[in-house]
């Protein structure tokens, strides 16, 4: 699936993550800012990448600003950003995700 427009979801408040998703042409490129990058960076990138793959998004630039979000939050914010980026915000199919 092609990203249709840049989209943003989430905040930079404590326990949240802010995801900005835009067009890319070189796979899924995640730029992560996080205080716990050393400990959980790989895991955060994996959750984002896996979630995007479920949308069949294979090329995207992702900017993620993490403030200690749990995996479920990372997933939820990524889903919202992806739906917005694909112009599908009215038809999210949460169950398959």
């Amino acid at each position: 699936m092609e990203i249709k427009k840049t989209a943003l979801a989430g905040t930079t408040e404590s326990s949240d993550i802010q995801i900005t998703l835009s067009k890319g042409n070189d796979g899924i490129d995640v730029d992560l800012t996080s205080d716990v990058k050393k400990q959980f960076g790989d895991q955060i990138v994996k959750v984002i990448t896996d979630t995007l793959n479920k949308f069949q998004i294979t090329n995207a630039k992702v900017r993620a600003v993490d403030k200690g979000a749990l995996d479920c939050v990372i997933k939820a914010r990524t889903i919202t950003a992806a739906s917005r980026a694909l112009n599908q915000e009215d038809q999210i199919n949460w169950e398959v995700l």
């Binding site: 427009k5 840049t6 989209a7 943003l8 905040t11 930079t12 408040e13 404590s14 802010q18 900005t20 835009s22 800012t33 205080d35 630039k61 900017r63 600003v65 403030k67």
Partner: protein, 348 residues
């Protein structure tokens, strides 16, 4: 805690906003600056304002929080502004701030473009300076070539600009001409870029490109477009010069920045002086005296704009290359109607 939108047109809102900012060391409320603000939000606790921030186009401004240790108030304000901007389709944001707050912005994903002793400029979003630079034209073995850069507003492109570009092109292997992209001039950015391209089309070693948000833009150097005092111009031009020196010149291998001598404009005069101070030794600065007409008149775009306003196009021939004259003649009515609508023709 509660987030509210403030309306600066409302006297009461304006007053509490000003009081809060003044308490926190921000006191420039010139109408030129305040007029540019699109959105202002504030965080309240027990009816008392504890944090605020504003959005002007793609620039975050007037950000202050009650207690400096409190990251959460700061993060709420920036988050809210980022989301407001996203709602308008703006994802690439800039912030000018005191140098000591640069780290706070970096914690929430902003990247530092330049930092001087007292100020910093940062950006965040989907299109950053690396993306801008990656889109510019390159040549083979660029790292071995002699390359110069020129930044111009070219409002519009004159024989004076042409002289400057020719000079740089004759002394270098390649020249990048960066045309200011902010739209605040009689000729809009598309027209200015096009006229520079047409006016230099015969010079094969010249690349004419948009300066994007990084060279004399409303983000990096607002004082170029707003009337400002000397200290403001100095710290903004210092950051603009640092971006050119540290982010742009090394990537494109630009060794020399060519400038036109500036006998008239105060703002551009300060800018030239700061560039001479900041850019060397890694980028040398070469100032070229202004070109003159056959009758020894200095060529300026300001004069050209005034002649258009007076509907006196005959003398334009001595100032403009034929490509620009043709455009002006074909679009005379439209340009004059922009002047009537109040666009400033005496500034830059």
């Amino acid at each position: 805690m509660q987030i509210k939108n403030l309306s600066l047109k409302n006297k009461k809102d304006l007053q509490i906003w000003k009081e809060f900012l003044t308490e926190h060391g921000i006191s420039n409320f010139s109408s030129a600056e305040v007029f540019k603000i699109d959105e202002t939000i504030a965080l309240f606790e027990d009816q008392r304002i504890v944090a605020t921030g504003s959005l002007a186009g793609n620039v975050l401004k007037y950000i202050a929080v009650e207690s400096e240790g409190s990251g959460s108030e700061f993060n709420s304000v920036i988050s809210q502004l980022t989301n407001l901007a996203a709602g308008k389709g703006i994802f690439h944001l800039f912030v000018f701030t005191k140098a000591k707050y640069s780290k706070s912005f970096q914690f929430i994903g902003f990247k530092e473009l330049a930092k001087s002793d007292n100020a910093a400029l940062l950006e965040s979003g989907d299109y950053l300076i690396g993306d801008y630079l990656a889109e510019l034209p390159r040549v083979a073995n660029q790292e071995e070539k002699k390359i110069a850069g020129i930044v111009m507003n070219a409002n519009p492109f004159t024989k004076g600009h042409r002289y400057l570009v020719e000079k740089a092109a004759s002394e270098n292997d390649y020249v990048y001409v960066f045309v200011v992209s902010t739209d605040a001039s009689l000729f809009n950015s598309k027209e200015r870029l096009q006229l520079v391209k047409e006016g230099t089309a015969d010079l094969k070693n010249v690349f004419v490109v948009s300066g994007g948000d990084y060279m004399v833009s409303y983000a990096t150097f607002p004082a170029y477009f707003l009337t400002s005092d000397q200290t403001v111009i100095e710290y903004q031009t210092t950051l603009d010069a640092l971006i050119f020196k540290n982010q742009i010149a090394p990537v494109l291998n630009i060794q020399t920045r060519f400038l036109g001598e500036e006998p008239f404009s105060k703002t551009t005069g300060i800018y030239n002086r700061i560039l001479e101070k900041v850019l060397p030794p890694s980028v040398s600065v070469k100032i070229i005296p202004r070109a003159k007409t056959q009758s020894e008149t200095i060529i300026t775009a300001t004069e050209v704009r005034q002649l258009i306003a007076k509907n006196n196009l005959v003398p334009l021939k001595q100032f403009l290359p034929f490509t620009t004259i043709k455009y002006v003649e074909e679009h005379k009515t439209e340009l004059q109607s922009r002047i009537k609508k109040g666009i400033n023709i005496n500034g830059n």
